[in-house]
Amino acid sequence: MSTSPQSTTETTVERKGLSPRRRAQRSRWIQYAILVVVVLVAVFTADWGQIGSVFFKPEFIKSAFEAGLLTALVKTLEYTAGAFVIGLVGGTILALMKLSPVGPYRWLATAYIEFFRGLPAIVVFIAFSLLPLAFEGMTIPWDPYGVVWLALGIVASAYMAEVIRAGIQAVPKGQVEAARSLGMPAGLAMRKIVLPQAFRIVLPPLTNDLILLVKDSSLVFIIGVAANGYELTGFGRDLANTDANLTPLVVAGFCYLVITLPLGLLVRRLEAKTARTR
């Protein structure tokens, strides 16, 4: 309404250079061009026949199945499952110790967790492979399962303890108060009210730990199990040596994906579900 002389709607602002939209467009074209060049170079320079016969040779794929690929797959699952159970039970005990009002329990749990979380899993496996030499005549029952489950479980429990502790602490304080007000002693409230909710909360991260465990089970070859105890990596490596070809290892590698991809899918589903119920 006021017709002040300052109104500058007539002038257009002049800016230099490309607009952000055009700049983004140009940058995307450059990215596509680089990709096309790299693919073309790969296609024309690689010796595809050689690659195919080294990594994906059909007769070796077939012979891998005949040599007991599925047995190795089952071994991997068995090693992982047992270690997961030990890790879960041990991790829960450690988490409870870490939250204990008794100081020494807290210190012990913290020391254990920090030690085994910081240590490469392979070091633990080497230690276990040397145990029979260090302590003469020492045996761990259920050979080879016992030693594998123990070695993997020791490391897994350290990881899972932290996850479970976080889960326990994520349960609202009001839950414990409600349980205690009904006359439940602390231990009972933990068992019946807190832990069931805590495990629900940590289901996605625990499944992630399970995926890590599947892969860590490949370290079993360090311990030196007999050929009939080979899991996927040991099996693939052995057969790749015999065949002087990488195909068995590639096949074994795909078997890991057969296990881990569905687990990864499960994690995403669980996460979506927790996000919905919150």
Binding site: G174, Q175, A178, A179, S181, L182, G183, M184, K192, I193
Partner: protein, 251 residues
């Protein structure tokens, strides 16, 4: 003998002295409402009655048992004190029935059949017999709070504590919960209620306690305390609560 007897109760959180010497009693079958501005210590007082908060000084005696005695069997004593929380605190992993049976089974060692029977009776009492198998997430706030009341009642308590039971509810759901509480009072339950619902206090309470600054300022029958308060602090508070739009802000 009074059902609850509180003597010279002091409670601090750090340097914050929340309760500064509380003395009061609740008789058998009495309904006592505690009112007062926020931060006056009324919720803390309630939480001291079942020792969810541990007082630094003073005694809490329920049915002749001193709960502040370090050797008191606190878990056993708490079974007879039902508590209803502002945020309901239902167990989300259990159904309505499960919420009402878990403590019966594990604490009172009742059989599954008996626990179920008592839980059903109490869920019916709060008007939720059709929600027995529902999980807390499937219930409205008012329904959740009524399940929480049924959960506490399933332990056959001698006393019920209510900590602002309607403060977290949508206004249209408040009535359902208050109706259940009114019925409970008529049935002769001893109740200690921290509330902002003046109409409820006026109608249901046998006695109203006004707290401010960690002390009991004044108490008496609702008609007297709400209708004709003696203390200036009580009058100021009630003016603000009963007619909030006609009060000038103090600061």
């Amino acid at each position: 003998m009074a059902l609850v007897e509180i003597k010279n109760l002091h409670k601090s959180f750090g340097s914050n002295h929340v309760l500064r010497g509380i003395d009061f009693t609740v008789e058998q079958r009495e309904v006592v409402c505690v009112i007062g501005p926020s931060g006056s210590g009324k919720s803390t007082l309630l939480r001291c009655v079942n020792l969810l908060e541990k007082p630094q000084q003073g005694q809490v005696i329920v049915r002749g048992e001193d709960l502040t005695d370090p050797d008191c069997h606190l878990d056993a004593a708490r079974q007879q004190i039902g508590m209803v929380f502002q945020q309901f605190n239902l167990f989300p992993h259990l159904s309505a029935l499960g919420n009402c049976t878990v403590a019966q089974r594990t604490v009172l060692k009742r059989s599954q059949e008996e626990a179920n029977r008592i839980a059903r009776a109490n869920l019916e009492r709060v008007g939720l017999s059709d929600k027995i198998d529902a999980y807390p997430a499937q219930l409205s706030g008012g329904q959740q709070q009524r399940v929480a009341i049924a959960r506490a009642l399933s332990m056959d308590p001698a006393l019920m504590l209510f900590d602002e039971p309607t403060s977290a509810l949508d206004p249209e759901l408040v009535g359902d919960v208050l109706t259940v509480m009114r019925k409970l009072a008529l049935d002769g339950m001893t109740m200690l209620v921290v509330t902002h619902e003046m109409a409820f206090a006026r109608e249901v309470a046998d006695r109203v306690v006004f707290m401010d600054g960690g002390v009991i300022v004044e108490q008496g029958p609702p008609a007297e305390l709400i209708g004709d308060p003696k203390e200036e602090r009580t009058r100021t508070f009630l003016r603000r609560v009963l007619d909030p739009t006609h009060v000038e802000p103090t600061s």
